[in-house]
């Protein structure tokens, strides 16, 4: 299924320009097999261009692509027989039903057994409306059908561009469960999204691009542990003493006073070191009245993309104890 190096998808030095605008500028992606890979980037970073190159819709100006361990060049369209894709908005014949659309789509590319159509309709929760014309479908239903279409060939590699678009909360949860289940079966799911919260709960590995280049890639847990935050609340008059006490745990730039009046401090540390922070303070006779820890993909994203927020993005602060109090870490005055 995958190459010698265990990658389901790899790009090296991928370049693509539209006129004078460089959409991809030497993109290097390494997507391990059997994971959900979150592909993140601000608007115009090159996510959709990458998806188009990976699905053969456009051709790169330079660089290489490997799909499932084998080179994917112009003319290697058969590589896509093992790939399912939903690129941009799902597209269908409006005058045909969902079932008929899938049947006609199955006539192209890799052969598909007819029972597979019923399987993916069931998976997408569209069995009840499968005979209705697609022109009457809501955006969410079209999106479900798009995901069903991507799964039609039972692909080893699934490329999804903003799959949560238009889905209701139940649909998002179902989609997330489905994608995770596919990854657990050894399939690789490559998801491009601007919904950081969604990626944070779904992806095993993330790649963040900005201006057509990869700026960070790695297992999500690893990246977030580097981006972990432990927040501690002490009496306001003890803030300076607490900063001094915690200095050995973290360099000054990772120690932030977020709200002096309330006595909140943030230490950018791996979240599993919260206990250590508490011990250190207690050892110095400073007792915390509040302690919270969490990670923030949004913070990492903003830092790496130069502060370009994801369009409509929602940062998620998944606190172990639920973070509600205090300003977001990193936005206060550096101690």
């Amino acid at each position: 299924m995958s190459g010698m190096d265990g990658l389901a998808l790899a790009t090296r030095g991928l370049r693509k320009s539209y006129g004078s605008r460089r959409a991809l500028d030497g993109l290097d992606l390494s997507v391990p097999a059997g994971v959900v890979y979150g592909f993140l980037g601000p608007n115009g970073a090159g996510k959709t261009t990458t998806m188009r190159v990976l699905t053969g819709l456009i051709h790169a100006d330079g660089g290489t692509v490997e799909l499932l361990g084998r080179p994917f060049k112009r003319g290697d369209r058969h590589r896509l027989f093992e790939v399912g894709a939903l690129v941009e908005a799902p597209t269908f014949y409006p005058y045909l039903s969902a079932r008929a659309n899938l049947r006609e789509l199955a006539a192209s590319g890799a052969p598909v057994p007819s029972k597979r159509i019923e399987e993916v309709l069931d998976l997408a929760g569209l069995c009840d409306r499968a005979n209705d014309k697609v022109q009457g479908y809501s955006m969410g239903m079209k999106q479900r059908l798009g995901i069903a279409a991507a799964l039609l060939s039972d692909p080893k590699l699934l490329l999804l561009d903003e799959p949560a678009n238009g889905l209701d909360p139940a649909g998002i949860v179902a989609m997330r469960d489905t994608l995770k289940a596919l990854a657990s079966q050894g399939k690789t799911v490559f998801v491009s999204s601007h919904l950081l919260a969604e990626i944070q709960v779904m992806a095993d590995v993330v790649g963040i691009i900005a201006a057509g280049k990869l700026v960070r890639e790695g297992p999500l847990k690893e990246l977030l542990s580097m981006q972990g935050v432990v927040k501690v609340r002490v009496r306001p008059n003890l803030v300076d003493a607490a900063i001094e006490t915690l200095a050995p745990l973290a360099p000054a730039e990772r120690l932030t006073e977020t709200d002096r009046d309330e006595g909140w401090l943030a230490v950018r540390l791996a979240t599993d070191r919260a206990e250590e922070v508490n011990q250190k303070l207690a050892g110095a006779g400073i007792y915390a009245s509040g302690l919270e820890s969490g990670t923030d993909l949004e913070m990492l994203f903003l830092e790496l993309t130069g502060g370009q927020g994801p369009s409509g993005g929602e940062g998620a602060f998944v606190g172990l104890g639920g973070l509600n109090g205090g300003a977001p870490a990193g936005k206060g005055t550096a101690a």
């Binding site: 188009r52 369209r77 896509l80 005058y95 008929a100 789509l105 590319g109």
Partner: protein, 275 residues
């Protein structure tokens, strides 16, 4: 074969198939019945004795076979061009070509099989339309009190398969032209609009540039099926002023057909698909 059958299933269910076919049949039946009904009155074909004679001749067999076919091929050529443009354009407008390409389908195969299914639909449509036209002409003849004894003329009937085949080939070429224009325009509406403009532009240009226009696609299509009787009706490009001999015209039809499909396939293969 999967693509071809899929193309056929899509066309059979497509509203455009029935709208275009319905328009052609509706116009044909309406005109033939109106001509038949008014052939003996002062309203018929200009009202004079010559007009009445022409109206009766239209529904008189065996000549009516040729005239019905001319009507279908004339107006049908324009409709076929619109149909080809609608099918090819929608593949881009709706993004369905994109879905097939992302599944690893060959762009060239996809486009050519799409056109092949259009070709079969046109063949079936042509035969059905001709059958309906003959029935309409028989009714028109009865309305005009004209004998239908020529209906079973064996010589004419013997030539019909060849005439229908040539007619299908000519209409196919016009459909290919619309198919290619819409492919280049990547749009249903732009393709249909440009195709219609081309059709009427060619007719108009034939007044000023007959020696050039006689090689143009609609003119050669018309010339390839011309009977030389001059009794056809139904329009059909710029074939009225100067035309090629039928055998040369047939060759040019083949050139335009293959050329159009080659351009559509090449463009589809090279195009960057986005949106």
């Amino acid at each position: 074969m999967r693509l071809f059958l899929s193309g056929l299933r899509k066309l059979v269910r497509r509203p455009a198939t029935f709208v275009i076919f319905g328009l052609l049949i509706g116009l044909l039946v309406l005109i033939v019945l109106a001509v038949g009904a008014t052939a003996n009155s002062g309203m018929g074909a200009g009202g004079g004795p010559n007009g009445r004679a022409a109206a009766k001749e239209l529904v008189t067999f065996p000549g009516a076979y040729d005239r019905m076919l001319q009507f279908i091929l004339g107006l049908g050529g324009l409709f076929a061009m619109i149909y080809g443009a609608a099918i090819a354009g929608s593949e881009w407008s709706w993004g369905t070509l994109k879905s097939a390409v992302a599944r690893g389908e060959s762009r060239v195969r996809y486009m050519l099989f799409s056109f092949a299914s259009i070709g079969l639909m046109i063949a079936v449509g042509l035969v059905i339309a001709f059958g309906i036209a003959v029935v309409a002409a028989v009714i028109g003849a009865n309305l005009a009190n004209v004998s239908t004894s020529g209906l079973g003329d064996t010589a004419t009937l013997g030539h019909l398969p060849e005439r229908l085949l040539k007619g299908w080939f000519a209409v196919l070429e016009e459909a290919a032209l619309g198919f290619t224009i819409a492919t280049l325009a990547r749009s249903q509406l732009a393709g249909i609009g440009a195709g219609i403009a081309f059709y009427f532009g060619e007719t108009f240009a034939s007044i000023f540039l007959p020696d050039i226009v006689k090689y143009m696609p609609f003119s050669v299509a018309n010339a390839s099926v011309a009977t030389g009787s001059g009794q056809g009706f139904g329009g059909g490009g710029g074939a009225t002023i100067a035309t090629l001999p039928a055998d040369q015209a047939l060759l040019m039809v083949a050139v335009w057909l293959v050329g159009s499909l080659f351009v559509a396939a090449l463009y589809s293969d090279r195009a960057e698909i986005s949106g």
